[in-house]
Symmetry: C2
Subunit: 225 residues, 2 copies
């Protein structure tokens, strides 16, 4: 089944990582894939544009079925392979509600991280303001404080919505990304605990962006957040 699948991805991209974790958890190893370079602009290549007209990664196909929205791909894979590998959507109404809630809240988290990290890419030089940089950082701090609270009781086996679920698949890469860019484990101890509890999970270890290990020095863009 996995042979019908094709993933175009970029190393270090949280949305790409989500899909790769899901494929591991659902025992769908053996899918075709191609690593592209953001630096070389390969995410704007014709091959990507044919799958994802916005020229973003991941670009994912299962046979003729195209899903390039990462959360959409995760939901599709879980629903198509329900009884295979890890069950990623809990049955109990309470856990399921929490799972969907946290999974969808990840968009706000990613957006606030991206607004800080990519300010200079997103905003042309003549439109940049120190006041905006400051506000973006304050907004990210408030957002991370929410997640720190959500993870108040984190422990092995008790993650964002109880057992490991799509909420973790979707949120974990963004939080790992934040640490990669210098987020303080001292300031966010619960998020750091969550990060450490899951970093050796086989699906996560097998797919953890190699790029990050090649950086000699960690970026420090989120230091002080």
């Amino acid at each position: 089944m996995a042979k019908s699948m094709y993933l175009l991805w970029g190393s270090g991209s949280p949305p790409c990582w989500r899909v790769m974790i899901t494929l591991e958890e659902k025992k769908l190893q053996g899918y075709k894939h191609k690593l592209l370079s953001f630096e070389k602009g390969e995410h704007k290549s014709q091959e990507v544009m044919d799958i994802n007209p916005r020229g973003q990664l991941p670009a994912f196909k299962d046979g003729d079925n195209i899903i390039h929205e990462s959360i959409g791909a995760c939901l599709y894979l879980e629903n198509q392979y329900k009884s295979q590998g890890t069950k990623l959507i809990p049955d109990s109404p309470a856990e399921q509600a929490l799972m969907y809630q946290r999974m969808m809240e990840s968009n706000t988290l990613s957006e606030k991280i991206g607004t800080v990290l990519y300010y200079h890419m997103l905003v042309p030089e003549g439109e940049r303001h120190d006041s905006a940089v400051k506000r973006n950082r304050e907004n990210l701090t408030a957002e991370l404080q929410l997640w720190e609270k959500y993870l108040e009781n984190v422990a092995a086996g008790s993650y964002l919505a109880g057992a490991f679920s799509l909420a973790d698949v979707v949120v974990y890469p963004s939080l790992a990304y934040a640490f990669q860019y210098g987020l303080s484990a001292e300031r966010y101890p619960k998020i750091a605990k969550y990060y450490n509890l899951l970093k050796d999970r086989p699906s996560i270890k097998a797919t953890c962006p190699q790029k990050w290990f090649q950086q000699e020095q960690r970026a420090e863009m989120l230091k002080g957040i």
Copy 2:
């Protein structure tokens, strides 16, 4: 069952409307609800903040289960009440893939509409630039052209992912919103056809924001997009 549910909502908000359409489609009428006023800042009231710490609407509860992310609430309701009312997630892999894809792509559409409509609310006076306004409008035009293409073959019973599905529940309110703010039906004939094909669907008619009928003149903020 619906009696255990409580929805805090604002009239004219596409995310609130999504949840209301889903409740109608799933035959969950009879839920408790309260209409709040954005103009009076009631979305920042303690009652909302207790459910949604970001102070946004909708704020939705089913018993003790809280889901304030609108797409999360729609997914939860469909999964909890699978065999009741309209089936909103198709079984066929091809339709399901397309449904998840379009549903999740709605975030990009909403964000680009919001960036144009709320520029003066989102960006403080000293940070505003005509070049940003122009770019935001161009980005929205490109985005709407994509949706115009997605709806190339729209017809009764053939919507965003075939039969009426969560893709329509989630996307329709944003497109209806755009017309409310002056989007040109001549420039986007397929989107306009889609809008008209669904506007009298019972779930949509029953929940269509009353606020819009009270406006004597339509806003024209999206004219020329």
